[in-house]
Amino acid sequence: MSDTQNVAEAVPPVSEREVILDVRDLAVDFTTEMGRVSGVQGVSFTLHRGETLAIVGESGSGKTTTINAVLGLLPGNGDVTSGEIFFRGTDIAGYSEKALRGIRGKHIGLVPQDPMSNLNPVMRVGDQLAEVLLAHGKATRKDVRGKVNELLARAGLPDAATRARQYPHEFSGGMRQRALIAIGLACQPELLIADEPTSALDVTVQRTILDHLGSLTRDLGTAMILVTHDLGLAAERAETVIVMNKGRIVEQGPSAQILRDPQHEYTRRLVESAPSLASDRMKPINPGALTGQITEMPVILHVRDLVKEYTVRSHTDGKRKTFTAVTGVNFDLHRGTTLAIVGESGSGKSTTARIALRLEEPTSGLVEFNGTNIAHLRGRGLKTLRKQVQPIFQDPYASLNPMASVGEILEEPLKIYRLGNRAARRERAMDLLEMVALDASIYDRFATELSGGQRQRIAIARALALEPDLIICDEPVSALDVLVQAQILELLMKLQTELGLSYLFISHDLAVVRLIADQIVVMKAGEIVERGAVVDVFTSPQHEYTRMLLDSIPHIASRGTAG
């Protein structure tokens, strides 16, 4: 893999090269049911040939609106109300759809966010690539095959000729993203726009894709706009960083400077909260963790030889076969501590969580909660367990009933166990809101009106309603913006100290886990590959896979490796 750390070593200096894109005072408005809403305002930036620029911001900050305006791909209710977009010296802001079509794909390439939904599922990957080449006259019917294979090979797909004849469903997520990169770069555009190109991918894949994208654009001299929510990643990959918030640019400058010396209050908060950058743990290291005393605390969840198999129908021959999601999993969670299960998609971490919640039964193995085997619990015993073990799920938009008010959501567990009367339940709901630092007025609101962070607080409050001992957090912060992420993690830590809760914390993100866990279990393909106290695993990882995961946290030369 090529060296990506020294991105800026090319000569001559970036600022003296030809200007590819010059956006001046761009403003975009949207017409909605609520009237006209401003999307972005006063956005100006310049991009030179071969330069990589990162636009960083949280959801709703206007980063995607900005690049859509550049591409002329604003949704029907949005339009550019003022400003100019100079692409190679020509203002393309007022271009017709037809004129834009000549530019998109040929001169400005796009790598979209979600590789799963951006390839046509009924078209061979090679044909989708050929279409771009043919549409822009970069190939003829005769030589298109060869060019397609060449492009796919360059995008890092081995055995390109075979791959070109396959359909998207035969590709993994990473391979699809490589195919999309090949499409984006097919016509050797002057500018490549990558909209969160790796956020849908596993961390280890993320890194190789970004490395490859970096070296490709460098070789071709393509300028790149990298849109991302991850400040660490932006700083690692781009020379210039633009930080956006609420539709405006709050700060822009060389990436090292933004990280080391952020000028704007908002950027400072972002730098402090980014898990990949933070060098301090949120939670003080449990004094017992180092000396092994943590293992002397009583075990609340004891898992031995856990196996979960599913019967699946094979894609190729339609025969039934057994798929092993989890095998031979052992761990002990000690009371009052946090055990994190880390792994990528398909590692079996979520299955383990679902078994611990007794939403699924294991094929074999022992799952003991406070000394009782809960693996196949039913009836009254199950109901007692449910009271003591509560979940917090990943997506707060889907884990709360959208038809219910906050009050109803919080009182539902109390009603199920017939606890208290109406007044007592309401009082308890108010207490819970206070615990998660939400205003009491939210009681009558509906989940659909709340932000992601507020919703996740409601989900936490509901999990606390029955005063459980164990909370199973399945990726509780991965759907949230960085600043909100930090707040939620802080809240979880505070509640653990106050209420003596035990957490089983499922995450794909080692950076997050480092902030709050006491012990770590690393899973890969259904098996545990490494385990230990958080400090040990981070300072001296034993397994190759753990090292790979650790390497894929964006490191910034100046401070990242300190953790």
Binding site: E33, M34, G35, R354, L357, R358, L359, L382, K383, R386, K387, V389, Q390, P391, F393, Q394, D395, A398, S399, L400, N401, P402, M403, A404, S405, E412, P413, I416, Y417, D444, R445, F446, T448, E449, A459, R462, L466
Partner: protein, 295 residues
Amino acid sequence: MTTQAINTAAPSTRGMSPRQRTWRRFFSSPAGYISLGTLAVFALIGIFGPMIVPYPSGLGTDILQPPTAAHPFGTDGLGLDVLAQVVWGTRMSLLVALFAGLLAVAIGAFLGIVAAYFKKADAVITTITDVMLSLPLLPLMIVVTAMVGPSIVTLTLVIGFFSWPEICRLIRSNALVVSGMPFIDGARAIGASPLRIMLKEILPMVSPLLIVNALLTGARAVIAEAGLSFLGLGDPDTWSWGRILQSAQRDGVLVSAWWQTLFPSLMILLLVLSATIVGMRFNDSRAVKVKGALK
């Protein structure tokens, strides 16, 4: 937003339940209140009309009169006022539509949600639904009504019982999406019983669809009732829109006495049209939508 309320939808939706927001959106265009208003007028006619207009029975002196001041809708072959028949028919047709619709929605929703939540029941319920859907409905309704004997209760039960499969299929596909959502797992993990989950979590999510389908089924029931009555399978002792048409056909005046067919047909058309529009508009206005099946 500081601008005045030029846009009617502009005021904040803060604190409104998803249901309130749905209705606000529903009434934001004339199509909403005109169609719902028409339905309300029908309901008023059905409830209060018969208290004002005397029941058309016996024999009248003015036979087959075209519309006049005394008989705005004309008279039929027995000299009875068609307006009175239409008014009394409204009550009966609406009752059939209401109860047949409720019956179909109740069976369809119950089976649909059960099929979606319990994997084991799914195969059985889906098979029954598919069989029911593949049966030719009109001949079957005719046979059953003829065997049991025509009456308004038979008609309602037959229409209701043959209309649930479509609702069941739709509700199942939507409830399937809902039961795969994390908040259902959340409810299970809290300790909610299957019955509670089906009633309190899944049912409210699919309930807007039920309203839509109750309306559409009701509209179809009106047509089915008119059809069956026209074929002589209605209750001979009560007036319904279908029976007015049937008496015109029986008297052999379908072509000449246009007033006897026009007015009941107009009523059927108006009712079916407005019920369909209300249903569709309500569906489009829903504040909370289930992603996946049926947008």
